[in-house]
């Protein structure tokens, strides 16, 4: 009988060749873990190359899951368990593993040839280099083939099920069931029952191997977390954004028009929305980024919710169109899933370095609203917020996601349909002014005095024919105007319209004794939160707040910042929010913590950095 030990949390990383099915393995382990009621957070890591040579370092694909008996904020800094399907996976991931952590290796793959391929002169299983870790050697491939001897499939197909053997073994080790995955496999391979049966057999064989092999003295249990009541699902940021776009269409009662051009890491939004035309969603894969934005703007003029998605290089190309949308004062939601730049940079790696481009990356005075989701599931709500601003203020809105939350996943408590905000808008239907002769006319730039938004008169509306364009227009009539005073007025009015968009006040978490505030934005929410918790556990006082609205910023921001001696601003850029804060609030002592390694912050490094600032007063 094995000993069962209780843990409160664990971080596991599955790593293998990109052909080894590690993403699926991770995904299934996640589904089982979710079913057990643990809180969790996951992060995949794909190779940049599409089909890197098998067994090489560039070909390594991994999936990390952090799960716990309490609510957690990140996929975990360091894995405590590494499953390495081959030498390349071991070599690429070992440096991240916690000292003393568990390494489970597929010894069948540790051949001389495979070792040489990644530059191991001697086998790390034998040369003592894993002495600091708990090494568990399993002949995953041969055990899987042996387990499937009675199945009517070839050796090669049998060997391919080794990821399910590994999943079964890990499921046993961490006391997960395999029922969810069995159902999944039956459905996935409904047309290939032989393959389904083989995978299920491999899964069970892995589970039974744990139960019987003597290598495993201990099993672990992680009790369920206490989470708010509700129905949950696991969701990535890109999926939540796509569903947010659909929900925005439902909530605004408008057809949705997505213009997009494929780009990593934003393409999944296009893929997802292309599957959901039943919601009245039109997706156009345009000839380029410019056309994608242009088509969305054209559709928006026609009365659709126009959305365009991209990443940094594509957003740069859309800049001209976004400026036109500023000038036309039409709604447009622009989604930037940021990646490491400049230029191609590191497309599969994360960064937050497009903030200043979102704020200022246009010609002329062209302010737009900017919002940033803080976690994968938050992308859904952020998209609804972006839509509210775009539709009601007739303006482009930039939504700044990034590669970390785009591909990362976490449980999401599903909203009730009744709780969707009402985003409906009224199109103009009647003339709103009179001409010199007293005849009723339509004035396309006659503004709502409260919001400063102009009427949205869609083509097809009788009597409201009008011409709009990029040339400066007279406020009210919309006629071409080169009048100096009018231009000054229009520039200031467009700016005042954006500055006047109401956003909620910034909320601060402060036990009351902190002199340092940590202020983040976007995807750093999880790591900062985990770091602040760590400090709080150690009794180190620190306040924290997170900016969701980058433009306009919350009205109470200056007052909040002024309360603290120092404001630490961690960003995955060289200090872009810091720059904005120093400009807007010159009296505030802003301390940047900046790294651009293409990786999310770890909570440990943030905790150390914050502690340093707090100690040094």
């Amino acid at each position: 009988m094995n000993t069962v030990r209780q843990l409160d949390r664990v971080v596991i990383r599955f790593a293998g060749d990109s052909g080894d099915g590690m993403q699926l393995t991770g995904d299934r382990f996640t589904a089982e873990t979710a079913k057990l009621g643990n809180d969790l957070s996951t992060l995949p890591n794909y190779p940049a190359e599409i089909r890197a040579p098998a067994g090489t370092l560039p070909g390594v694909s991994s999936f990390q899951i952090h799960f716990a008996d309490s609510d957690i904020l990140t996929p975990g800094d360091e894995p405590e368990v590494l499953v390495a399907m081959n030498p390349a996976a071991l070599k690429a991931n070992l440096r991240d593993l916690k000292r003393g952590g568990v390494v489970i290796v597929n010894t069948d793959e540790f051949t001389k040839r495979n070792l040489t391929k990644v530059g191991y002169e001697a086998s790390p299983l034998e040369d003592g280099s894993l002495d600091d870790y708990q090494l568990i050697e399993v002949k995953l491939t041969s055990l899987t083939i042996a387990a499937l001897e009675d199945h009517d499939i070839g050796k090669k197909d049998a060997a391919r099920s080794k990821n399910m053997f590994a999943l079964g073994l890990l499921s046993w080790m961490y006391s997960r069931t395999t029922a969810v995955t069995e159902d999944f496999l039956k459905k996935k391979f409904a047309s290939k029952p032989d393959i389904a049966a083989a995978n299920i057999a491999a899964l069970k064989a892995g589970w039974n191997y744990g139960e019987t092999a003597e290598s495993f003295a201990v099993r672990f249990e992680i009790p369920p977390a206490t989470l708010p009541a509700g129905t949950y699902r696991n969701i990535t940021g890109n999926q939540a954004l796509a569903w947010g776009v659909i929900a925005a269409g439902v909530a605004s009662e408008l057809p949705v028009f997505l213009g997009a051009y494929p780009i990593t890491p934003a393409s999944d939004i296009l893929h997802e929305l292309s599957k959901h035309k039943r919601f009245g969603v039109t997706t156009v894969q345009a000839e380029d980024e410019i056309a994608a934005a242009g088509a969305a703007l054209g559709a928006s003029w026609g009365g659709a919710l126009g959305v365009t998605t991209s990443s940094g290089p594509g957003i740069a190309l859309k800049s001209e169109t976004i400026s036109l949308a500023v000038s036309l004062e039409l709604p447009l939601v622009v989604i930037d899933v940021q990646r490491a730049g400049p230029s191609t940079g590191m497309p599969t790696k994360t960064e937050q370095a497009d903030l200043l481009m979102a704020m200022f990356g246009r010609h002329g005075e062209a302010p737009i609203a900017v919002v940033a989701p803080q976690s994968p599931s938050d992308c859904f709500d952020a998209m609804l917020e972006a839509t509210r601003m775009a539709l009601h203020y007739r303006t482009p809105v930039m939504l700044l996601s990034d590669g970390y939350i785009a591909n990362g996943a976490e449980p999401w408590r599903l909203p009730d349909m009744g709780d969707l905000p009402d985003l409906s808008v009224a199109f103009a239907t009647e003339p709103n002014g009179t001409d010199a002769k007293g005849e009723p006319v339509f004035l396309p730039f006659q503004r709502d005095p409260e919001t400063l938004a102009r009427p949205w008169a869609v083509p097809g509306t009788p009597g409201l024919q009008h011409r709009i364009g990029g040339i400066e227009k007279a406020d009210g009539t919309g006629d071409i105007s080169y009048d100096p005073a009018n231009h000054d007025h229009m520039v200031r009015t467009r700016a005042a319209k954006i500055a006047g968009i109401p956003v909620p006040d910034l909320e601060v978490e402060d036990a009351g004794d902190a002199s340092v505030l940590v202020l983040g934005w976007g995807s750093t929410w999880g790591p900062i939160g985990a770091a602040v918790r760590g400090l709080s556990d150690k009794g180190v006082p620190v306040a924290r707040a997170h900016l969701r609205y980058l433009n306009p910023m919350p009205a109470n921001l200056g007052e909040v910042l002024a309360r603290y001696d120092k404001v630490v601003v961690p960003e995955m850029n060289l200090g872009q929010l810091s720059l904005l804060l120093r400009g807007a609030f010159p009296g505030v002592d802003v301390v940047g913590y900046n790294k651009v390694r293409g990786l999310p912050f770890t909570s440990n490094e943030l905790q150390d950095a914050l502690e340093e600032v707090i100690k040094n007063g």
Partner: protein, 340 residues
């Protein structure tokens, strides 16, 4: 075009399509003639004014929408086909027109033009070709003849020019035509055919810029030269002009003296020939020298339009779907779990 367009007895008049804006092109600009021709043609669409949208880019010609009492956008240099694609795809009920120039459509916006044409978006694209950059005061354009002396090419342009119709045909355009600013009857006849075409209609209009490239098309207008240069294409008619005729030659077409050829060898024009090679050969009869320049409808074939295919997929998927209910079930699809 607007699916339902039938060229009806006009209810509206040309003046109904004039906007309140003062027209501001240079005196003698060919754009005035085109504007007048379009304004007096539009009533023939039989559509209410609000069902018509004109979208332009940047350049002299792109001021066009401001002068029409329809819906209009004066947009960004080269981007009009992209913006119009979004509008036409999402709004079946509208008749969407693009007004562009040689720089706008063929230089900065070349990509959008060719892709609109290959997709066969239901747009009517009017390209005003004056072979010069007018608004920026006289640089050579992608249709300027090689050797052109301009401010930016004082020793002569070394660029090889585009043949706009060849480009459109190479882009899989389903409707390709050419006309002249000064020939109102012909211009309107071409507009009529373009309006009746379902899909992208590409119309090149030779347009005179009196300031920076005056008389560029004089060969086709001057009574002394035009008969020997201008070829009026008419469906079902043998292609003859002046004392010349067009015959097949090798893989293409050739102009010969009428007295040198048999009547049976003269090519009879058909715009509905499926193989674009014929229309392409027609487009190659003249270069920038305009020596043998066909005008009229080169190609007019049917192919499903992009916008109807896109709408068809959405309509099929969305039929009978309650969006709210469907969203709820989407959110609950796949693996979910409940915390009590």
């Amino acid at each position: 075009m607007a699916d339902a367009v039938k060229l009806d007895a006009p209810k509206l008049k040309a003046k109904d399509f004039k906007s309140s804006q003062e027209v501001r092109w240079c005196p003698g600009c060919g754009d005035y003639a085109i504007l007048a021709a379009v304004q007096s043609f539009l009533p023939e669409l039989g559509l209410e004014r609000e069902k018509i949208a004109f979208i332009s880019g940047i350049g002299c010609s792109s001021r066009f929408p401001y002068y029409l009492n329809t819906y209009g956008i004066h947009s960004i240099h080269g981007r009009a086909p992209a913006i119009a694609t979004g509008l036409a795809t999402s709004r079946q009920d509208l008749s969407v027109w693009v007004v562009t120039g040689d720089g706008d459509a063929l230089s900065i916006g070349g990509n959008h033009l060719i892709h609109a044409l290959r997709r066969n978006v239901n747009l009517k694209i009017l390209l005003f070709n004056n072979r010069i950059y007018g608004l920026t005061k006289g640089q050579y354009s992608p249709t300027s003849e090689s050797g052109k002396l301009t401010k930016s090419s004082p020793m002569g342009s070394v660029d090889a020019p585009f043949n706009p119709l060849s480009l459109a045909l190479g882009s899989e355009a389903t409707f390709v035509a050419r006309t002249l600013d000064s020939d109102r009857a012909h211009l309107q006849q071409v507009l009529r055919a373009a309006a009746e075409h379902k899909g992208s209609a590409f119309v090149e209009i030779y347009q005179n810029c009196p300031i920076f490239n005056d008389d560029a098309f004089e060969t086709l207008k001057n009574p002394d030269t035009r008969d020997e240069a201008l070829i009026r294409l008419e469906d079902g008619q043998p292609i003859r002009f002046g004392d010349k005729a067009v015959v097949q030659s090798g893989y293409g077409l050739e102009v010969k003296g009428a007295d040198e050829v048999d009547e049976s060898d003269v090519v009879v024009h058909r715009s509905d020939v499926d193989d674009p090679a014929y229309a392409f050969a027609l487009s190659r009869l003249s270069g920038t020298a305009l020596d043998h320049t066909p005008i009229g409808v080169f190609r007019n074939v049917r192919r499903p339009t992009y916008d109807e295919l896109v709408r068809g997929q959405v309509d099929q998927a969305a039929a009978g779907v309650d969006r709210g209910e469907a969203l709820d079930s989407l959110l609950h699809s796949g693996d979910t779990w409940t915390v009590l």
